[in-house]
């Protein structure tokens, strides 16, 4: 199993959730994060002081999936999150040794 972690623009959350739903993925975990990257926050002049907004609000979406579905899901996320503008974000894929569903104790892909 793999954990897909996507860091995306906040307003894309709904689109991604819908894209995943249409692939029959009905579980994910979402965290509000702050991102620092090529998409520089603009320089603002606030009351006479110039400064750069360095951290931009982003959304981190984590989805655990079975290894064979990684590619299709990855495609779906990228398609939904894409705007073509700088700051669209990244997707990371890591390996999951094990997944357990707490309610039932089930392990492995059945627990997803």
């Amino acid at each position: 199993m793999k954990l897909i972690t996507a860091i995306v623009k906040p307003f894309k959350l709904d689109d991604i959730r819908e894209a995943l739903s249409s692939l029959d993925i009905h579980g994910m975990t979402v965290t509000e994060v702050k991102g620092f990257g090529r998409q520089k926050g603009h320089t603002e002049i606030y009351r006479g002081a110039e400064y750069t907004v360095e951290f931009l609000p982003k959304i981190k979406i984590e989805v655990a999936v079975s290894s064979e579905r990684v590619d299709s899901i990855l495609e779906a996320i990228i398609a939904a999150a894409h705007t073509g503008k700088i700051g669209d974000g990244k997707v990371f894929i890591t390996n999951l040794d094990e997944v357990v569903r707490i309610r039932t104790g089930e392990r492995g892909t059945i627990a997803l």
């Binding site: 603002e44 002049i45 606030y46 009351r47 006479g48 002081a49 110039e50 400064y51 750069t52 907004v53 360095e54």
Partner: protein
């Protein structure tokens, strides 16, 4: 006495009814004088009711008004301590005013009265509920004036926000009220030399706002910039708080300006109306200037403009008419916008919450323009007998100049002394951690 007063008013009404619409307010002022002569002191319940609530309104301006306005503007890690400073100023100031502040400001200084009052009323000794000042109890006058003595040092917090030691804030409040506020209040309102010279300051443009704004700038410069100022963003952590605090300043300011008439009458009513018009105009003025020069109107601009308008109309409230108020508001809004942005940027001082940029600048604009818009030409009350617009303008400038010079020098000395005694500034580590946790072991929010 109500009866005598009424008779005098009726007589006057009879006499002047025909010419009423074309004469200036001066006619009324004359009546007031005649009346005052005929009058022996009694308490008028209507005036007393208005001054009771005006006192409450000015306190509302400070807590929660100014406390919210300022706390919203700082970073979350300093929100509680900033608010706490405002409350602490209220506490310390109340005691100082009771102990000797009132007596020195409004007591009769005899031969030295041009400069300062005396200590005959220290600890408010011997003042009875039945003692009268004008048409209200003297205790009520003491109370109302106390709220002015509280808001003035509270405004200064905006200059040194996010970096002053709490103990220094307490000390500063006690010393500054005693050595700066009290004398200036005496000069303008307590029978001192500025009132003798004819300076017009209806509700404290000079005594309160210019004074506080200048002291804020001195403090900002002496204590130095906040760590990271100019590179890190220091945007308001809660614009909602700042807007709400600003709204309370606005509402409470009716007590400040219309209350300064010390009576519930036509002049108080006019003071309220012109306050509303100037404030609305200034808010639009700042916001529009911002919209045109930076592309977007902001809530922060709107509310800052409103405060600038409130400040600017303060010295003029009982003297100018609605049209004068409109112009004063627009001018104050635009000028303060420039001061709090371009000028501040050019000079590089860290007047963190714009005590100077808003209060001193709009205060100066207001004080000077009062000398102009008081003229009947602009619908105002009219200049005093034999005073030209130019000479009134110069008198106003004298008031402004004296206040600035004295406030700069005395504030600087006080700050230097405190720096030696307990130190002015928190450590860098405390600044990074935030004053809430570092100084008070508390957090504004525990969600």
């Amino acid at each position: 006495m109500q009866t005598l007063k009424q008779k005098a008013l009726l007589a006057l009404a009879g006499m002047s009814a025909a010419v009423m619409p074309v004469i200036s307010w001066a006619e009324e002022a004359a009546a007031e004088v005649a009346e005052a002569a005929a009058e022996v002191a009694t308490i008028n319940a209507g005036d007393t009711a208005w001054m009771l609530i005006s006192s409450a309104l000015v306190l509302l301006m400070i807590i929660p008004g100014l406390a919210l306005y300022y706390a919203g503007m700082v970073r979350a890690k300093n929100a509680l301590s900033t608010m706490m400073q405002v409350f602490a100023v209220v506490c310390v100031g109340s005691i100082v005013w009771f102990a000797f502040g009132y007596s020195l400001a409004f007591g009769d200084g005899g031969d030295n009265n041009a400069w300062i009052g005396d200590l005959s009323k220290a600890f408010l000794a011997g003042i009875m509920p039945g003692d009268v000042k004008g048409t209200i109890p003297e205790v009520l006058f003491i109370m109302f004036q106390m709220t002015f003595a509280l808001i003035t040092p509270a405004i200064i917090i905006g200059g040194f926000a996010e970096r002053m030691k709490f103990s220094a804030v307490l000390l500063f409040t006690a010393l500054w009220i005693s050595l700066v506020y009290v004398p200036i209040a005496h000069w303008v309102w307590g029978g001192g030399f500025l009132s003798a010279d004819g300076v017009l300051d209806f509700a404290g443009g000079t005594v309160v706002h210019i004074n506080a704004g200048i002291a804020g700038l001195v403090a900002a410069i002496m204590i130095g910039k906040r760590k990271g100022y100019g590179t890190q963003g220091m945007t308001p952590h809660s614009m909602m708080m700042t807007m709400v605090g600003g709204a309370m300043l606005w509402v409470g300011w009716f007590g400040f300006n219309a209350g300064s008439e010390l009576a519930a009458d036509g002049v108080a009513s006019m003071a309220m109306l012109v306050t509303q018009i100037a404030t609305a105009a200034a808010a639009m003025g700042w916001m529009m200037a911002e919209w045109m020069t930076r592309g977007k109107p902001t809530g922060f601009g709107l509310i800052s403009g409103a405060v600038a308008g409130l400040v600017a109309i303060t010295p003029a409230a009982g003297f100018v008419g609605p049209t004068g108020a409109l112009f004063m508001g627009i001018i104050a809004g635009v000028v303060s916008f420039i001061a709090a942005t371009s000028i501040k940027r050019a000079f590089g001082y860290d007047d963190a919450l714009d005590a100077f940029g808003v209060h001193a600048i709009a205060g100066i604009v207001g004080a000077l323009l009062t000398g102009i818009f008081v003229d009947t030409m602009f619908g105002g009350k009219g200049l005093a007998e034999g005073v030209s617009m130019m000479s009134q303008f110069l008198i106003q400038a004298e008031g402004v100049g004296v206040t600035i010079v004295y406030s700069v020098i005395a504030t600087a000395i006080i700050l230097k002394a405190i720096d030696i005694m307990v130190g002015l500034r928190i450590t860098e580590e405390e600044e990074v951690e935030g004053m809430d946790l570092a100084l008070h072991n508390e957090r504004a929010y525990n969600h």
